[in-house]
Symmetry: C2
Amino acid sequence: MGLLVVGSIALDTVATPFDSIDNALGGSAVYVSIAASYFSGPVYMVGVVGDDFSREHIALLESHHIDIEGLQIVPGAKTFRWSGRYHYDLNARDTLLTELNVFETFNPVIPEKYQKSKFLLLGNIDPVLQLRVLEQLDEPKFVVCDTMDFWIKGKKAELFEVLKRVHVLIINDSEARLLANEPNLIKAAKIIRAMGPQYLIIKKGEHGALLFSEDTIFSAPAYPLENIYDPTGAGDTFAGGFVGYVHKTQDVSIENLKRAVVFGSAMASFCVEKFSVNGIVDLSYLRVHDRFREFLKLSKFDDED
Amino acid sequence: MGLLVVGSIALDTVATPFDSIDNALGGSAVYVSIAASYFSGPVYMVGVVGDDFSREHIALLESHHIDIEGLQIVPGAKTFRWSGRYHYDLNARDTLLTELNVFETFNPVIPEKYQKSKFLLLGNIDPVLQLRVLEQLDEPKFVVCDTMDFWIKGKKAELFEVLKRVHVLIINDSEARLLANEPNLIKAAKIIRAMGPQYLIIKKGEHGALLFSEDTIFSAPAYPLENIYDPTGAGDTFAGGFVGYVHKTQDVSIENLKRAVVFGSAMASFCVEKFSVNGIVDLSYLRVHDRFREFLKLSKFDDED
């Protein structure tokens, strides 16, 4: 049974202090699906594009064994477009343009063969759409959800409904503080877990990530990168590596979720090393695992003899 | 042979969103010495106070087996005073007052019995004074140095002279970026190590600490604290725990320095849980080691079978 991924598909125009790129393949479903594809197939991708979405992009997805039966192509319409410009230190960005286009009327339809999926990744889209996806599934056993400040502020009630039905929420530190209305991350994590998710992952960018469960906190380091070219998609790539690893191993124990957080971090470290999806399209499981081992070396210390 | 600590001794007036305290025992030499005292004795403390420095403060130092032969008490003069107010999230503070008093004319004199010390902690004071300390020592084999933005900006040439002669520099992330004039911390670490220190530790507050050597990067997590009452002295306490552990074990291997970074982090986590030095005056090595083990649990993950 495949891993079901639902999210946005976009054409991104991005400028960083180093370079810029126009109409590059992007969107949460794309980053998640490509990242997850290194762990186990097939990935079932659900999303929407216009007929301006190029054959090359579709070929790229298919070359990663991403099943696109759930990809809606709307004739005569345009794909969702996003444009942003990163600041000097890459920690902040301005959104220059958001053209919803086909995304404005998107209604995620889950093909019959996807409906028995046990593993689901709900990419960062309107919680109303996330709920519609959940309603179409038989009985998913591991639902991972991403969201952002825009939905936390604008669709709080709907987001709360989603949170009651997900097993893992993945958000960044500022989103966690906003959602919990609490500046201390450890307290915020308790508040958010009480909203529903059994597990919470808080991404902290260059400072790594935290995984919270009922009785465990796990702190994963960040990979020490000297050159970050484009942070776009890093969070989605993290989510894809995380859920891809859990789907591959079919093991939802806390010790395995820790490894999954590190695989997510490893994938994200590849993502930011190049523009757009270029950092993650030519990988292999072996290379990803080598980087996983570098995370081990980075954080390992021993007790006294 | 004792561990030699040179730094400031202060009476601090501190306000946080939770509480405030007047004329509390503080200063880099005080925090470092108390923290180090849990690892091995004796600690040789060099600093200066006025005759307003209370008997109680001296008794507290002595109760931690801190040798105060190097403590200068200037009759008719006042102890260095610092006053600060922390912001709501405790990550920033305003200095309200700095009265140098006896510190203005401080000339660190190293008593003869201290001069053969092999382990030295140069607390955050004027690099000119740090150099004067180094000149009085026979042949220290492990010199750990702290500094701050004030000296990086104002006494760069003198600081560079110090850096040529230290084995470990401990600074925070913003100081590292300032000293190296480089926003990326991994690049900044290379630049700073080329200035002299074989090892560099970059403290990142609630995000843990990084240890850099020629061929190793080690990432230590931060202890997940729900309540931080007073960050004053946390950096000095980290340094005291770090150097105290290295002095106790007499082992400067990289694997042992990793453990020392975690012991420093453990000590600092106790420091911020209470006001002034209150968080670190009633500890035991056993309690510190228990917290060290919690850091192990917090960051440990295993490779696949």
